[in-house]
Amino acid sequence: MTIMQPVGVLSFVALSAVLFALGLYGALSRRSTVMVLMSLELMANAININLVALSRFSAPAEMTGQFFAVFSMVVSAAEIGLGLALVLALYRQRKTVEIDAMQELKG
C-alpha cells in the first residue's frame, strides 16, 4: 500500500485488530482496576472502528454498522459508569484500587 493510494477495508480491520489486542493486553496485565477499565474501553473502541468500517465498505446506504456502533458506545458508556461506581464503592471499603487486593474469594 503506497501512502497516497486509497485504502481498503482490510486496513481498517487490521487497525481494529491491533487496537483490540492492545486493549486485551492491558486488561490482562494492568494492576490498577481503573487501568483495566480503560483497557476495556480501548477494546470497545476497536470494535466500533470495525463496525463502522465494515458498514462503510459493505452496505453504506444502510449505515447498519454505524447504528451498531452508536448502541455499542451507549452501552459501553453505561458499563464504564457502573464499573467506576463499583470501583469507588470497593475503594471505600478496602482503600485500594489494586486488582490483586481482590482475591479474598477463592476455591
Binding site: L24, L40, A44, T64, F71, S72, L86, E104, K106
Partner: protein, 457 residues
Amino acid sequence: MTGVGWFIPEYLLLAGALVALFAERIFRREGAGAAAGAAFAAAAAIAAVAIGVRPAAFVGGVLELDQVAVTVRVVLAALAAVYLLWLSGRGMGPERSREATALVLLATLGGMLMVASRDLMVLFISIELATMPAYVLMGYRRDDARTLEGALKYFLLSMTTSLVMLYGFSFLFGISGSTSYAGIAAAPSAGLLGGFAAVFVFVGLFAKISAAPFHYWAPDAYAGAPAASVAFVSTVPKLAGAAVMARLAALLTPGVTALPTVIAIASLASMLLGNLAAYPQSDVRRLMAYSGVAHTGYMLLALSAGTPAGNAAAILYTIAYAVPSMAIMLIAAEEGTSVDDFAGLVARRPAVAWAAVVFLLSLVGVPPMVGMFGKLVVFTATLGAGRLALVLVAVVMSVVSAGYYFRIIRAAFFAEGRAERIAFSLPAGIAVGMLALVTLALGAFTGPLLKVLTSAL
C-alpha cells in the same frame, strides 16, 4: 407501528420497575414494592400467554414471537413473579429491596427481548440489559467488601467476554452485510473468519451462562453475593442465555461446521469441572455455583447434537434446572448459606425440608421430578447424534452429583441443628411451595413442551 400491543408484557415489566423505584413511598412498607413487582410480572406472564405466537415480524423484523420466544418469555416472567413474591416476604437482608425489585424486572425484560430478537444489534443490547442488573444484584450488599469483590470479578470477566462477543458480532455483520438473523443465515460459508466470529460469540455466551472454562467468575461472585441475589442471577438470565444459544447454534452451525465440536468441548469441561469441584464445597452458594456449571454442561451436551431436537432439549433442560435451583438458593437465603446451616431443618421446618428434598432429587435426576425428564431428553437427543462417550461422562457425573446434593439432604434430615426457627412468611412459603409443585408436576408436560420448542428451532 404494527404489533405494539404484542409487547404488553415488556411494558408491564417496565411499569413494574418504575413503580417499585418511585412509588414505594406510597405503600410505606418494605416489601410492598416487591409485591407490586410480583403482580406486574405475573400479569406479564399472563399477557404473554394470551398474546401467544405472533409470526409476523415487529418493526423492521428485529423482534419476533415464535414458539421458543413465547415459551421462554412466559417462563421468565413467571419465575420473576415467584421470585419477587418471595422477596416481598423476606427482603434482601439488611438492604432495602426496592432497587432490587426494579433490577429484577429490568433483567427479566432484557431476557425476554433476548429470546424475541431477530437481529444482532437488538440481541446485544438486550443481553446487556439482562446482564447489567445482575452485576448490581450480585454486589447488592454495598457495605460488604466481599460482596463487592465478587461483583467486581463478575463485572470485569463478563465485560471482557461481552466485548469478545461483540467483536464476533461485528465480524458476522462484516461477512454478511446484515445484522438480521435472516441475512446472516443467507450469507455463504465464511471460512476462518466466520469460524472465529462464531467462536467469539459463543465464548461470550459461555461466560454469560457460566460454562467451563469461562465460568471462573461464578463461584467467587456467588460466594460473595447475598443468596437471594444468586437465586435470581443463577437462573433467569441463564435460561434466556440458553435459549439464545440454541437459536444462534441453529443459525451458525450450517456455516461453521466445527461449532458443535466447540460446544461439546465446553460441555465436557463443564460437566467434569463443575461436578468435581462442587464435591468438596461447604458453602451452598459455591456448591450451587459449581453445580450450575455442571448443569450448563448437560445443557450444552444437548446443543452439541446440532439438531433441532437437541436445541429444544437444551432449553427444556435449562427450565428443568432453573426451577429447583432457584428454590434451593431461596431456602439458603432463609436458612443460611453454609451446608451446616441446613442441619436440623426437618425439625425446624419440615415442609421446607421436604420441599428441599424434591428440589435436590430433581437436580440429581430422580423421577418423577422434572430434572429426570430433562436429563432423559438431553441424553436421547445426544445419543441421536452419536455422542455416546459424552453421554457416558454425563451419566457418571450425575452419580457424582448425587454425592454432594445428598450432603445437603443429610444435613437437613440427619444432623442436629439449631432449634430456633425464622418467622413464618406467607408469600415466601407460597413461592417455595409453587416451585415445589412445578418441580413435581412439570415432568408431565415434558412432551408438549418439547414439541413446542422443537417446532420453532
